[in-house]
């Protein structure tokens, strides 16, 4: 029996979180999402539910690292050898997946390790892949990401820096592509993320428990209904699921046609400078997010409101200068800054 997943479209409210996840499904280059909030706010449910909506991608047949056959400049060693021998690689379709990295995972499971069986049988070393290999071109999901051990965070940072996982341990020497979309959930009361790490998340959203009584009741109702008969429940949402999948596909197709004017770029630069964020990752993420919002809305041109929405997803977790300073801008001051910058570029 196929395991059912609680349908994404059956999740009530939490619109911003859902939207941020969808944006990442359309354009993985946005670079992931950090979901902050208390327990029981459907954080994990939403991330896991996203798996159902993820698109299909082309990959080299049988590749352990999901190599992209259309990017021959960026192949793993095994695919490169195949390419050398056959001059062409066979293509297969794979579904983009949500790969979970449990908080308790050991380092060798994450980065990969020596293949024991092979070593015992043949007296030779061979690399056995880890979670980072599976994560290539997929979503890497860490529940309670703030509880992740420090040395695992180091490894993730290392891989994220260039999209490559370099292994030099336990007698093995290996490197392979590892471009993952990092999605994490956390309860901020239990501890913070390192600033370096937090910057690796493209977007962030804050989730809160549902205040509205009616919505709250609906949440419970749906959950109970799902638990009673998961298959029937999923069937009920099938059409909505299909619609959303199609919307995502269409948006993905049109993404490359969306235009962004110099004026908008200037606005984005100005916002970043005004907010004094570190580095340039925020700017680039802003552009990508604004482009993706526009395509999701079925437009071919980025508008001011896209930038405004993008700013609210890109900046909140980046507005802390030091490990200690509380983010100085709340959502409304953020909007104010965006509006002020708009006047300056006379949009």
């Amino acid at each position: 029996m196929k395991k059912t997943i609680f349908p994404f479209t059956a999740i009530i409210a939490q619109e911003r979180m859902k939207r941020a996840l969808i944006l990442n499904a359309i354009n993985p280059k946005i670079g992931g999402l950090l979901i902050r909030g208390e327990k029981g706010t459907a954080k994990s449910t939403a991330v896991r539910a996203l798996a159902d909506l993820l698109p299909v991608f082309d990959t080299v047949e049988g590749c352990r690292f999901n190599c992209n056959p259309h990017e021959t400049n960026n192949l793993c060693r095994e695919c490169e050898e195949k390419l050398k021998v056959n001059e062409e690689v066979k293509v297969e379709k794979r579904n983009m997946k949500v790969v979970e990295l449990p908080v308790s995972a050991t380092e060798d499971r994450v980065v990969g390790t020596i293949d024991i069986e092979h070593a015992l049988k043949n007296g030779e070393k061979k690399f056995e892949v880890g979670i980072l290999a599976q994560g290539n071109r997929n979503i890497l999901y860490v529940d309670e990401v703030n509880l992740l051990d420090d040395h695992i965070v180091d490894v993730l940072l290392d891989a994220a820096a260039m999209g490559v996982n370099t292994v030099e341990r336990e007698g093995v020497s290996y490197a392979h592509p590892s471009n993952f979309v990092l999605v994490g959930t956390m309860n901020p009361e239990e501890g913070d993320l390192r600033p370096q790490f937090i910057d690796r998340f493209g977007l962030s959203v804050e989730v809160m428990g549902e205040e509205n009584v009616k919505d709250r009741m609906n949440v419970i109702k749906r959950r109970l209904e799902y638990e009673r008969d998961p298959i029937a429940f999923c069937e009920k949402f099938k059409e909505e699921q299909n619609n959303l999948t199609n919307t995502i596909l269409k948006a993905k197709e049109n993404l490359q046609d969306v235009k962004i004017s110099d004026q908008v770029l200037e606005l984005i630069a100005l916002i970043s400078i005004t907010l004094e964020v570190d580095g340039h990752r925020a700017d680039i993420t802003m552009i990508k997010t604004a482009l993706t919002i526009a395509t999701l809305e079925g437009r071919k041109e980025v508008e001011f409101k896209d930038v405004k929405e993008a700013a609210n997803l890109v900046f909140p977790h980046r507005l802390r200068k030091r490990p200690f300073d509380q983010g100085k801008a709340l959502s409304n001051t953020l909007d104010e800054v965006v509006e002020r910058c708009r006047e300056q570029v006379s949009m």
């Binding site: 400049n73 420090d150 007698g171 580095g279 340039h280």
Partner: protein, 642 residues
């Protein structure tokens, strides 16, 4: 000796081109200087996140493909770093042969360590050792080899994550800081190029091919020229003078200065080093070597403020008044000195009404703001026991018995091994395979087993027990104390300690903050920490003990530390006895329960009773005066000097 059978280099063939990176000229130049003249001694690139630090280094590989850029991952294990027994060869031939590690590969190349400040101590020391001597000596698994390993080390770090050890820092010849671009036009350009690259890496890469080739030629030419570059006596003398004048530490500064100046001269097609070259070299060589008290101007203003404060104290002793003064002191920081008095009186009048209202409160409270923040001395909490722990953090290094932590090396296990080091076990067995008559599968015997040694710095649980009594508030000590606590919190953050806080004043102690990993929360709570009332030291100590005891029960692997911040002037006992004596006997009890403690003495003034010192003695605690916490050693100005 065998070079690692097939070292896998995975490289994107169309990386973001080096010459397409906007600005960052200093970093680019520093990398080039190292290639032109390896004697400049490597470079440490320091900067905030997302400033193309990694991109800069890695993309340089395309300019000079003959020089390999070898990426050293943080989780490297000893065998892959220095080399180990060639498994396959040993199995097949029954003979020893070395399979080389990264240090061998690095010979004549660039060794690149991203986040160099996060390297484990053991690995860091090994690298430093080989880097300094230029020779890698391998004495392990019954093998004895050595080979030359001259490489250029390029490291990047983000200072938010903690500092680099001084020995490592000194060894870097050059130092560059990178910052994000603050200019809109440049920022626009960065975005546009990045987007263009991402939409089509190949064509973008081709677009910059010419400029890459030009740069390549420039470097190759400079490499030729530098062989002929001359250094006059005047320049040599000037470089020594420059080092002296800038009070740079260590002896290497002047050598690096000259070598860097030579590289700069050769880049400019000059065959003689000029003063301008030396001056430019100094910007790279000296910043991390200068000893100078940090933030001097601020300290001065601090002093002025203190003077101001003591004046205020003479006028009145009302804690509420003091609070309002506290605020205006901060305000007036930005305002001309002459205006200060006027503003003071303005503030007083507006606050007078509020004061009257508040006076009806039973306990007079004063909330002071947070004083100056500094780098904390390296307080290493010693662990004398042999319990194997498994927490995570960075303060106290401990060996972990779990399958967590970084696998550093392998040892012969005592008894039945649990965490088997497969690679080491196989290597041990490899030589005996012929002898044991292997047909296909390897024959492993119990004597082959090796166990992993993992290293992990265990975070402590720091419980701040803060004296909130009137004696702290009225004497304006609280502000400095808060500054010190924040400094300790920053330190705790970098070392991944957990923190909690209780305060004692009036008749009781109160838990302000449950033990948490979030130091942000702690700082928030601290802001609102009030002072006033008597000093129930005993109550504070007992509460602290209770919390630490329950923490220990919940989490066996943490090392509990009680950080007591007080002047020791207990005047409110739990029983009927003398409050100080009572507190001291409680201290002795706590000490016997094996809780580590740190006492920070806040007493100030001419007549000191030294009670906190007695408390520290009873607690068997490390003792610091508030003023002693600052680490002068770290107070090096890392700033461009010219």
């Amino acid at each position: 000796m065998q070079r690692a059978s097939k070292h896998v280099v995975f490289n994107n063939k169309c990386p973001y081109p080096f010459t397409a990176i906007v600005g960052k000229d200093a970093v680019k130049k520093a990398i080039m200087m190292n290639v032109i003249n390896p004697k400049v001694g490597g470079v440490l690139i320091v900067g905030e996140k997302g400033t193309a630090k990694s991109t800069l280094v890695r993309s340089f590989g395309q300019i000079l493909p003959e020089i390999e850029i070898i990426n050293l991952p943080l989780n490297i294990s000893e065998d892959r770093l220095i080399g180990s027994l060639d498994l396959k060869y040993a199995v097949e031939k029954g003979e020893k042969r070395l399979e080389t590690g990264l240090l061998h590969q690095a010979h004549g190349n660039i060794l690149y360590v991203d986040e160099v400040n996060l390297l484990s101590r053991g690995i860091g020391n090994m690298i430093l050792d080989v880097w300094s001597s230029g020779v890698n000596t391998i004495e392990r698994e019954g093998m004895s080899y050595s080979h030359r390993a001259n490489f250029t080390l390029i490291g990047t770090m983000n200072p938010e994550e903690g500092l680099l050890s001084t020995s490592f820092l000194d060894r870097f010849g050059l130092y560059v800081e990178v910052k994000g671009e603050r200019d809109v036009i440049n920022r626009l350009e960065i975005m546009k190029r990045r987007m263009e690259y991402e939409s089509n890496p190949e064509s973008f890469y081709d677009k910059y091919k010419d400029s890459s080739l030009d740069l390549r030629e420039k470097i190759i030419r400079a490499k030729e020229i530098i062989k002929e570059v001359k250094v006059s006596k005047e320049i040599l003398k000037a470089s020594v003078e420059l080092c002296k004048a800038s009070r740079s530490i260590g002896h290497r500064g002047d050598i690096y200065l000259v070598e860097a100046a030579k590289a700069i001269a050769s880049l400019e097609d000059r065959k003689e080093v000029e003063f301008s070259h030396l001056k430019e070299a100094a910007k790279f060589v000296l910043p991390h070597r200068i000893m100078e008290p940090r933030e001097k101007p601020q300290e001065e203003s601090e002093e002025k403020r203190n003077n101001n404060e003591s004046n205020n104290e003479n006028n009145n002793q009302n804690p509420q008044e003091n609070q309002s003064r506290e605020i205006d002191n901060n305000e007036s920081k930005h305002i001309e000195e002459e205006n200060k008095l006027d503003i003071d009186s303005d503030y007083q009048s507006t606050h007078e009404n509020k004061d009257l209202e508040n006076k009806s409160k039973t306990i007079m409270e004063d909330i002071s703001d947070i004083g100056s923040i500094f780098n904390v001395k390296d307080i290493d909490i010693q662990i004398n026991d042999t319990i194997i722990r498994k927490g995570s953090g960075r303060r106290s290094k401990t060996l972990t018995g779990m399958t967590q932590g970084r696998y550093i090396k392998a040892v012969i296990p005592k008894g039945k091994p649990k965490d088997i080091a497969i690679d080491a076990t196989l290597r041990t067995s490899a030589l005996y395979q012929k002898q044991r008559g292997r047909k296909d599968k390897l024959i492993i015997k119990e004597s082959d087993f090796r166990k992993k040694v993992r290293e992990k710095r265990t975070g402590n649980t720091l419980l701040f027990v803060v004296d909130g009594s009137g004696s702290m508030g009225a004497k304006k000590r609280m502000k400095a104390v808060k500054g010190a606590i924040v400094s300790l919190l920053m330190d705790a953050y970098q070392k991944r300690d957990k923190v909690g806080m209780i305060t004692f004043r009036g008749d009781s102690a109160e838990e302000m903050l449950q033990v948490t990993r979030s130091v942000d929360f702690a700082k928030d709570k601290l802001k609102d920490l009030p002072t006033g009332g008597r000093t129930p030291l005993s109550a504070g100590l007992i509460k602290g003990y209770q919390i630490l005891r329950s923490t220990m029960l919940k989490d066996k692997d943490t090392i509990p530390v009680l950080v007591l911040i007080t002047d020791g002037k207990a005047n409110n006992a739990l029983g009927l006895g003398d409050p100080v004596e009572e507190a001291i006997s409680i201290c002795q009890d706590i000490s016997q329960k094996g809780i580590k403690a740190l006492v920070i003495d806040t007493e100030s003034g001419f007549i000191q009773m030294g009670l906190a010192k007695e408390v520290a003695k009873a607690l068997d605690a490390q003792y610091y005066k508030l003023e002693e916490l600052k680490d002068e050693n770290i107070e090096r100005v890392v700033r461009n000097i010219l």
